[in-house]
Subunit: 196 residues, 2 copies
């Protein structure tokens, strides 16, 4: 498997029909993922369209990830942990300043996404709300949000299948609050389409 070092990111191409498996080798680590159409990067993953079509805040096995053009980008084939967030934006320098009163430089998923995606002519303003894999966001019926430590073990994984040719941006999340206070790697594997 490919390893994304702690507090860093990666970007790569995933062709239609290929599968993407994501795990945390040490467990308890979140990974933010964004998707773009390889052939027209103005088409991208959309939280609003996904929550709309899937009629659920929680997105897991059997759900699709949809684009801003109302097209399917990925299907979730397996999800052994079962907790992912699609509400909150990737952590950014301002997250640490405004919410955590951090002073000085702090690595962030936002920076790790756009620095890896700029090779594909995707820039900071193009980064949408990410699909936050293994992120344990809790909410009550009053809508109050809280971020709890992730519960994924080293054995847990999520398996996606690309529904079109994609550019994938992926991180090992940099936010203390999302990862139970420590940073770990993220591992990913691209599984070629099986011949039928």
């Amino acid at each position: 498997m490919n390893i994304i070092s702690r507090q860093s990111g990666a970007a790569f191409i995933l062709k239609k029909g290929e599968q993407l498996k994501i795990q945390s080798p040490q467990g308890n680590q979140v990974s933010d993922m964004v998707l773009f159409n390889l052939n027209d990067t103005r088409e991208k993953i959309s939280s609003g369209k996904t929550l709309d079509f899937e009629e659920s805040i929680l997105i897991s096995r059997g759900n699709y990830l949809w684009s801003n053009r109302s097209e399917k980008m990925m299907m979730i084939l397996e999800d052994t942990n079962g907790r992912n967030d699609f509400l909150l934006a990737p952590c950014s320098p301002e997250t640490f300043e405004i919410m955590y009163h951090h002073k000085g430089y702090h690595p962030s998923c936002f920076e790790n996404l756009y620095r890896n995606l700029e090779a594909y002519d995707i820039f900071p303003d193009d980064i949408p709300t990410a699909f936050n894999i293994f992120m344990n966001v809790q909410f009550d019926t009053d809508g109050k949000l809280s971020v709890d430590p992730p519960t994924n073990t080293p054995q847990d994984y999520i398996l996606f299948e690309a529904q079109k040719d994609l550019i994938v941006g992926l991180t090992a999340c940099s936010a203390e609050d999302s990862n139970g206070g420590s940073f770990k790697e993220i591992a990913y594997e691209i599984i070629a389409q099986k011949n039928e």
Copy 2:
């Protein structure tokens, strides 16, 4: 007040410090709103940043609407109905095809937003998840989403104050399910900044 006819939309400039009041003259009508920075339209309203910074799915009086650049775009000064949605994308032609199995043309908030915003060089792919004013989206702790009829009366209103110079896109929503089965107008008023 300015009137947006049933199943249509409008776009206009709102300067920093100006207030925007939105009402449904007949009641029980939703209005989708998107925001762009007047001076650089790549900065736009962000559901993910707003839910993150406000730590709530429900956004009402006292909350800010934030941009993808982590800046405040609007503050909500008053909200007498108190139910707005920031989860679901604006209804689009595909919403009616995929979710409601509608055949043929159907007006949509998505079309009414981009057709009005194209005068500002804002195009369909630029439309983010909208702030859905008076939209009565219910959810349980399992994340299951449902759209109930809106509860706003003709007296209810929401009052925003612009935190920077903005382009505002606004609709009288075209989706039967969001509006209790019938379409009504939306009224809006721009209130100039008061001299101190």
